[in-house]
């Protein structure tokens, strides 16, 4: 059993890491999600729902952990600092595409819906099953998310052109 789990982890790690990155927006949070989900999955490796499709199970666990983690640690983000002005000497950051930045500002449930829909190519019904909600909720969350992204991506582009980026850690 341990050997099967090891084979699965090694085979699924690339895909899960990318999925975690897409889901959270940064590789560290993504790695944490992968770790939590794989550990919880490994502990119940023989159970039916896991044994049938472990990859789907781990992804579901990642999505749910992502949403619940956000609920736990940050309902809102308070700051007394103004957005930083980008230094001319600063290297080009990899994650500065306006849509990527806009995606990062979405509530995790909306972000999860968009990632599952447009990255994992899941149907709305499957997404609803993963998130434990109605298909209509998935549609509305996707619609709200996309609308917000359109708006914020446009704003970000303007800020970016002016040399000002949204608040980010160095």
């Amino acid at each position: 059993m341990d050997e099967q789990f090891a084979v699965f982890v090694r085979a699924a790690m690339p895909q899960l890491s990318k999925f975690g990155l897409a889901l959270t927006g940064n590789p560290h949070d993504g790695a944490d999600l992968v770790q939590c989900a794989l550990e919880s999955t490994g502990r119940i490796w023989r159970r039916g729902s896991v044994a049938t499709d472990p990859l789907a199970y781990v992804k579901r666990a990642m999505v749910n952990a992502h949403v619940s983690r956000w609920r736990r640690i940050r309902r809102e983000w308070l700051t007394d600092r103004l957005p930083e002005r980008r230094s001319a000497a600063a290297p080009e950051r990899a994650y500065e595409h306006p849509l990527w930045l806009a995606l990062a500002t979405l509530p995790p449930r909306q972000r999860a819906v968009l990632v599952l829909r447009y990255y994992a190519d899941m149907s709305e019904a499957d997404i609803a099953a993963v998130l434990g909600c109605a298909t209509g909720t998935v549609k509305s969350q996707a619609s709200k998310g996309l609308a917000t992204m359109r708006q914020r991506a446009a704003t970000t582009s303007v800020l970016d052109d002016a040399g000002i980026l949204p608040l980010k850690e160095n």
Binding site: M13, S17, L21, P27, H28, A31, W45, L99, L103, R150
Partner: protein, 420 residues
């Protein structure tokens, strides 16, 4: 291009070249089966304890070792193991960064631990810290740690310009070994330049092969190897092997015991806290002492315990806060489970263990006589008769339960539930 098509492309582009964390994968593969085994063992042990608790009112015979909660060995991976992390604060005279000291031990008795890859270092907190992975070339230099040796690695976390961190931890992975996390609060280092990333790097390394770190001295009152207390049927027979060593320590330490003698299966310890603090042992068990728990000179040790001995292991660890003081008496031991006795009527007698409960369970009767009581009688007598009684655990007096010799016939005493 619509926003959905563009979003697809962005997601694909952003993740396309993302390399998986293979260290993390191997760490999970190593850790999860261990967690599973521990959960199983804990479940088994809790069953034993529940059985003991059910008849605890009877004052079981003093078989101290029968209820040990044995965890897995400290390091499933042979060789290199991350032993302990101590925070040093901003203590270096010429540097503002926050500093750490990581102790890496070779717990093998024969094999050299070869560090041939970078340590995996990562700072994290409830809000993710965006700190670079270790890139300092010094970490890439191979180093060999001889059996029993300890490598001290001094690390620095520098230039944090993000939000103040109130509870950062560091995760360390050792190539081919295990990983662990710090437990201590770390102040954030000063912000030097907002245009540069925060970094975590190796400042210095110090290899100790001479046993200076956490070395222990032979006990002042050496004890010859031999059988310990008499064992009841079904209990663990413990034979101490070699001379115990005594160690007075401060803070987390690796305690070396020398080469294990043939047949050793455990390390027996007698541990006393000398100051208040929390202390964790190699099998994950722990104890917390308040100032009132500190024994005065001459009092017996506060804790007697057995730690499973992994192949090649010749040391054990005490993990605690930096200033906590403690005393340890440790010796190798061979532990062998004994069989229950069987009387002429074919009934088993002895102490409850991982195999279950014998027909006749060893007890000390109300009048102080030692003997055996039928497990069924004990269970019946200890069962609450009403929800109120169960909730308050204040059983009303019951009919006396007879205590017999091991033959199950000769009465040697009795006791009464509810009059403990």
């Amino acid at each position: 291009m619509g926003v959905t098509e563009e979003l697809r492309e962005v997601l694909e582009a952003r993740t396309r070249d993302h390399e998986p964390d293979w260290f993390l994968a191997e760490s999970i593969i190593e850790r999860v089966p261990r967690q599973r085994r521990r959960r199983r063992m804990a479940a088994g042990a809790s069953g034993v304890l529940a059985a003991l608790a059910a008849i605890g009112v009877l004052s079981l015979r003093p078989d101290r070792d029968s209820a040990d909660l044995a965890g897995g060995p400290l390091n499933q991976s042979p060789g290199c193991a991350a032993l302990e992390v101590r925070s040093l604060g901003a203590g270096f005279p010429d540097a503002a960064p926050t500093s750490f000291l990581v102790l890496l031990a070779n717990t093998s008795s024969a094999d050299t631990c070869e560090l041939r890859g970078p340590l995996q270092l990562r700072l994290f907190a409830p809000d993710e810290l965006d700190v670079d992975r270790l890139r300092n070339p010094r970490a890439e230099e191979p180093v060999d740690i001889r059996p029993g040796g300890v490598l001290a690695v001094f690390l620095e976390w520098d230039n944090w310009c993000g939000r103040p961190v109130s509870a950062a931890r560091m995760r360390i992975g050792v190539p081919g070994g295990s990983d662990l996390e710090t437990r201590e609060f770390q102040p954030s280092p000063a912000c030097r330049d907002v245009n540069f990333r925060s970094t975590l790097r190796v400042r210095d390394r110090d290899l100790t092969d001479d046993g200076a770190t956490g070395s222990a001295s032979p006990s002042a009152t050496p004890t010859q190897a031999g059988q310990e207390d008499p064992v009841l049927p079904g209990g663990d027979a413990v034979t101490r092997l070699g001379t115990p060593i005594r160690k007075d320590g401060v803070g987390p330490q690796l305690v070396r015991l020398g080469p294990p003698p043939a047949g050793a299966t455990h390390i027996g310890i007698e541990f006393s806290c000398l100051t208040a603090g929390s202390f964790e042992f190699a099998d994950g068990s722990s104890m917390t002492c308040t100032a009132d728990d500190v024994p005065v000179e001459g009092q017996p040790a506060a804790l007697k315990h057995r730690l499973p001995l992994a192949p090649g292991q010749n040391s054990t660890t005490i993990s605690t806060d930096g200033n906590a003081r403690w005393r340890l008496l440790a010796a190798y031991a061979r532990v062998e489970k004994t069989a229950w006795g069987v009387n002429e009527r074919g009934e088993t007698y002895g102490v409850a263990n991982a195999d279950g409960t014998p027909d006749l369970v060893a007890v000390v009767a109300t009048d102080g006589n030692s003997g055996y009581a039928y497990a069924g009688s004990l269970e019946e007598a200890s069962r609450p008769t009403s929800p109120a009684e169960a909730a308050t655990w204040a059983p009303a007096p019951r009919a006396p339960v007879p205590v017999y010799e091991s033959d199950g016939r000769t009465v040697v005493g009795e006791f009464t539930f509810g009059t403990r």
